[in-house]
Symmetry: C2
Subunit: 386 residues, 2 copies
């Protein structure tokens, strides 16, 4: 693991150097996991040169030459001084993630000349996965696909969306899902994923997910809402796959009975969008171009009004994945990112067809040296439940 961590430290130090930074203080769980390989309560201090220092409050018992136990962050200054490490002039803090009051506390401790956005620095570094990370994501993809293969066997006639979802959740946990769903930013919440049946797929959501759903309660208005799975409804399953600490994202559509012709045509259009993007996506290709390509194909099929939602439409067709479900790059019209080998993203062209429900596809892809490679393999046609 130490060699793996060194790669990440090097990537972060190179990013720091590019930005003229002296150090970054990392205090959020996701980024602590990235730079240390585990979650702890405390802070990681990464400088331009040398190994990071890990200032740990909890748990007791961590070993290692870089581990320094503290009771509060104010002690960090003394430890740096003891080691002859000068205070940083240009310090990166996770300014998109840490609270205002935390920020002020760290500012007082380090008193830097300038503070920069470490959240975005880390998002950039994390967007290009190491081989080890790609392995973790691939493993999650294999288990995720295995889960989806079992979905038809979990269905019983007369079920509601919630009842089927509960059986899928259980099967996911039995296959090793850790259950939690890490999302960047604090405004998006969801349980293990969503299962959208019939017109509930068109219920607009407060969250920035591709599709909504009314949910079971005003405190969590997303996903299934107790809709009975009756004849002629589509059942879209978009359950997160967190089997390894790294997420994969994957959506498949099932049907109860037969859907309308328009629904099948929209599903085929989603598959066509996926095919065209698979052919086009490669290092150097702007993420925005992929979005525009998808929008054009949907328009050519006369389905613009249903693309990425109907009453409320999402403004993206894909997103980076990793420790969190919404990493860089974002496949959206104003995205400034281009694909780079080692990026991993989910592509999710979807349509919401009134009185039928949601159709479409989602898979996770790795950007390779000359194209993209799918990581989530499982039947892509609409599978009838019976």
């Amino acid at each position: 693991m130490i060699q793996e961590l060194r790669k990440r430290w090097n990537a972060l130090q190179q990013a720091l150097a590019r930005e003229g930074g002296d150090a970054i203080l990392i205090t959020t769980n996701v980024n602590l996991f990235y730079v240390s390989g585990r979650i702890f309560s405390g802070a990681a201090y990464v400088r331009l040169e040398g190994d990071p220092l890990f200032f740990v409050r909890r748990p007791v018992g961590l070993k290692g030459g870089n581990v320094i136990y503290i009771r509060k962050p104010e002690e960090i200054a003394g430890h740096l001084q003891q080691r002859g490490i000068p205070m940083p002039a240009k310090l990166f803090l996770e300014t998109d993630s840490i609270s205002y009051n935390e920020y002020r506390r760290y500012e007082k401790i380090f008193d830097p000349r300038v503070v920069c956005n470490g959240t975005q620095l880390l998002r950039g570094v994390r967007s290009i996965k190491t081989i080890y990370e790609i392995g973790r994501i691939m493993r999650s993809g294999v288990l995720h696909a295995r889960l989806y293969e079992r979905i038809p066997s979990l269905y019983r006639p007369g079920m509601t969306d919630t009842e089927l979802s509960i059986e899928i959740e259980r099967e996911s946990r039995r296959l090793g899902s850790l259950g939690i769903f890490r999302i960047f930013g604090q405004s998006m919440e969801i349980f293990m994923g969503s299962l959208l049946a019939g017109d509930n797929a068109d219920a607009p959501s407060p969250y920035d997910f591709a599709l909504g759903g009314a949910g079971l309660d005003a405190s969590l208005p997303v996903g299934g809402n107790g809709t009975p799975l009756t004849d002629g409804t589509s059942v879209m399953v978009d359950m997160g796959g967190n089997f390894t600490g790294y997420m994969t994202d994957m959506t498949r559509v099932f049907s109860v009975g037969k859907l309308t012709d328009r629904a099948y045509r929209a599903h085929d259009t989603a598959l066509e969008i996926q095919r065209r993007i698979e052919q086009t996506a490669a290092p150097g290709v702007p993420a925005a171009d992929l979005y525009n390509l998808a929008v054009r194909i949907a328009a050519d099929a006369g389905l613009s009004d249903y693309f990425m939602g109907h009453r409320q439409q999402a403004g993206f067709i894909g997103h980076g994945i990793g420790i969190e479900i919404n990493e860089a790059p974002v496949l959206a019209p104003r995205s400034k990112e281009a694909l780079v080998p080692g990026m991993v993203f989910a592509l999710e062209p979807k349509f919401v067809i009134p009185s039928v429900g949601a159709v479409g596809i989602e898979n996770s892809f790795l950007v390779t040296d000359n194209g993209v490679e799918k990581l989530t393999h499982c039947e892509e046609a609409i599978v009838p439940l019976q």
Copy 2:
């Protein structure tokens, strides 16, 4: 619902008045849910007088005279001006929750003379529940207890902690659990709760939960770790109960075979602590006194080394509950809070006995006018699994 919301607005306005504040801008999900009764993307603006204004980005279609659709928070200033509402001189922002960069954005929009800590203002107001909220918590407690009654029927010999946990999670969802677990602060993460068997109960955790557990992966080091449920081990179930948007907290202990005498004695001591605190707790009683009482009873029983953990010990014995699992008050030695009618808290005296596991109890209590009332009723002895 509007009368219920008015009570909350009044309580918040009284708190604002006490602090000499002009307004509070609320943008986090939990507090938006509190002041509006639902989750939306946007902001609630509560002034000293008059109804709040709800600035909504998503979802589309919300109705009401106080609902104003915006694309970005910068538009709020213009809307206030249009309505002849002066800019606030003393503005509360959720400074313990919103990111530094969000803070700077709101500061620019409102340009107040002074900004105060709205997170703590809201935590104070939310710590005293309305009758409606108490009803939601009571309902969650009933379903939570029903879940725990079913636990023995979910056990099969040869199971691991994870396997039993998965069956409890499923049963919880079937009873209506929403699944998610809202925690104040961003450093604590957990799936639906924890099930700790044997010595895994003593694995120290990075999180500030009462007990730890190694978990299944370094990315989520908490709770069950695949420990087989073998003869002589205790099985502590501490699953969150979020059935209504309001959480209850409840722990029960089960045994595989017979435990050691010390384990039973420690369990009885936990029940004794609960009994004594139930007799003592009442409006006006300092939360710190209840903590000290518990510590004294554990010491008198010669069990201090095992109280609230062994290798790593937690520094509290209870905590407020509500929309989040860790609200005010905290039952800890340095707590400055005293009980007030309408507060709801979880009391969790627990012991970790090496080579046996965790024993103890947790229930949720309402502070009434003259004492406390238990909300989570279910067998409290150690129940053998067979």
